[in-house]
Amino acid sequence: MADVPEVLRLEKVCKSYNVGQPVEVEVLHDIDISLKRGEFVALIGPSGSGKSTLLNIIGLLDRPTKGRLFIEGHETSKLDDAATTALRGHSIGFVFQYHYLISAFTALENVMMPLLVEHSFPDERMRARAHGLLDQVGLAQWENNLANNMSGGQQQRVAIARSLAMNPALILADEPTGNLDTKSADSVFEMMRAVNRSQGTTFLVVTHNMDLARRCDRTIEVIDGRIGTLAPANEVEPHQ
């Protein structure tokens, strides 16, 4: 494992809200995390423990109050807004809990969106790539549906296809199956796992579903803004 490159490293990352105000609260304390290429990691922990906050920081949507964050070796604290945006666009894919597709666009267009943002003008190559990605998640025949006219599971699969558009090194998924029935949740999870296996994309997936967590390479637990146990899933909750 030592020669596998590191995709993500957090060093003593802290996050406080209401900085400078009388009731400043620190919700993340000295978080150290390292993810290697190709890992599929579950992030678990009780509600309010700071998982989403952590994911937003890793996804460069938010900034840590203290500590250092490396994405594919880039130290991110010194980057300005434009560079941060560019790094986010190239290196990170997002899948959110409430299948955040843009309702004004079709499934295909949603998948094209990261490419369009990057290249400004749409072209056939983008369309073909988006089509291929939708095919990969089994939704090729739904590509012209508006995002809103699809079921939750389908929308989440579109979101996965979209997160892959830029071929990012790291995909962050915040409770991607939290709003889905068991069957859809399972298929969405397997879809991500398949991408991980076939493309070597690193995944960090927040979930409350212990069954799914067990099927990951390892589990990171956040409790009250601290890393709980850093061990393979089967050590946290041994298989019966």
Binding site: L61, H90, Y100, L101, A104, M113, L116, V117, F121, R162
Partner: protein, 409 residues
């Protein structure tokens, strides 16, 4: 997805399309505002153009007239004490312009002047049997004068011909005196000259007063009748640039020493009215523009709040603050553009309706239909710019939105 449009335009169009009702209502609001402006401007410029055309085909652009005679107070021989302080304005005699031939020759050389026409005006009495009417005799050189005042266009009977014993009279004078083409008219001037003239043409200037008083005779005839042989009472000029008339008049005045009045000065009332209209027109434009701007801004402010999540997603997908800013600026510009296209069409339609509705009794049009493309193009451009400007505040808000806050909704 159109391949010719960049990300910002595609997204702006989709957002507008998705927000159907909002888009429709604000486009309607912009359209109404623009329609009012377009209709009003088209109507006003049509009225103005029509008035100016009438004035300019029935009046010289510049007229040189002899100075008024003034009386000076009587003083003692030492010239300090006024003996008789009450000064009455003297009655004005008919006087000729000094050395008018020289002035005419000089002015003919000016490149800014096209036509130079010496005329002789005098009051006279037209007598036919028991009936008599007071008239204004205008002695003209038809060759040049008709280039200034288009009498031939107004002739309803006979010819626009003035030979030595000819007179052209107005329709109402002919009716009043019961005369027709070819009839003889006894004309006696206020200074005592008398002559029998033959009616060679009858005109209708569309104005009863003018048709009653105005008559045209040969310059020499007028000079003879008013006992001012070789004199003229005015020199009429036309210029190619009618709006420069006042400036040229001042130059003529200082060059010749003869008072020169431009049509702009003699129609000062009209220009005062035009200016007042233009001021109110500008005020209306400004306020309509402001309400259009506020309308677009308020729709976009709401849209930014509604689209918070979309903005967050776009930011997460790697779009920059600049891109988000432009998505909303483009929306503002498009709303202004679409609304003003509809509004310009509505305003133009209303103008055409007004034009076809306003007819003379015989069904002919009162005003010419004037379509100035620049009015419509400017209205659309200005509305689009107003839209972009109005979008500035909401667009900045959208661009400044913290991605985390946007994602959380």
């Amino acid at each position: 997805m159109n391949t010719w449009a960049p990300f910002e335009w595609i997204t702006a169009l989709r957002f507008l399309r998705e927000g159907r009702m909002q888009t429709l209502f604000i486009v309607a609001a912009v359209a109404i505002g623009v329609a009012v402006i377009v209709f009003m401007s088209a109507m006003l410029s049509s009225l103005q153009a029509n008035f100016i055309k009438r004035v300019l085909t029935s009046q010289p652009h510049i007229q040189l007239i002899p100075p008024d005679e003034i009386a000076r107070p009587l003083r003692t021989s030492t010239r300090t004490e006024i003996v008789s302080p009450i000064v009455q304005r003297p009655a004005q005699r008919i006087r000729s312009i000094d050395q008018w031939q020289k002035i005419r020759a000089a002015l003919s050389e000016w490149p800014e002047i096209v036509t130079v026409s010496p005329t002789m005006s005098a009051s006279a009495l037209a007598v036919r049997g028991d009936a008599s009417r007071s008239i204004t005799l205008t002695g003209i050189d038809p060759e040049v004068y008709f280039r200034i005042v288009r009498i031939p266009e107004y002739i309803v009977a006979g010819q626009p011909r003035v030979q030595t014993d000819d007179i052209i009279v107005g329709l109402d004078l002919a009716k009043d005196l019961g005369v027709a083409l070819g009839d003889k008219l006894n004309v006696t001037s206020a200074t005592g000259g008398a002559r029998v003239l033959t009616i060679s043409g009858i005109f209708d200037l569309g104005n009863k007063g003018a048709n009653m008083r105005t008559t045209f005779v040969a310059l020499r005839t007028a000079q003879a009748l008013s006992r001012l042989v070789g004199g003229v009472t005015s020199i009429d000029l036309t210029v190619p640039d009618v709006y420069a008339a006042e400036t040229i008049a001042l130059a003529v005045q200082s060059a010749t020493g003869v008072e020169a009045d431009s049509w702009i000065k003699t129609n000062a009332q009209f220009f005062t009215a035009v200016n007042a209209q233009q001021t109110s027109n500008t005020l209306i434009r400004v306020f309509v523009g402001l309400s259009v701007a506020f309308g677009i801004a308020s729709v976009l402010v709401v849209s930014v709040i509604q689209r918070q999540k979309d903005i967050g997603i776009l930011r997460a997908m790697g779009s920059s603050r600049g891109q988000i800013l432009r998505v909303f600026l483009v929306q503002g510009g498009l709303l202004g553009f679409l609304g003003s296209i509809v509004g310009a069409a509505m305003g133009g339609g209303a103008y055409m309706f007004w034009h076809s509705y306003l007819r003379q009794a015989d069904g002919s049009e009162i005003f010419p239909l004037i379509f100035e493309p620049s009015l419509y193009v400017n209205a659309v451009l200005l509305a689009a710019l107003t839209g972009v400007a109005a979008a500035a505040v909401p667009a900045l808000r959208a661009a400044k939105l913290d991605p985390v806050v946007a994602i959380r909704g």
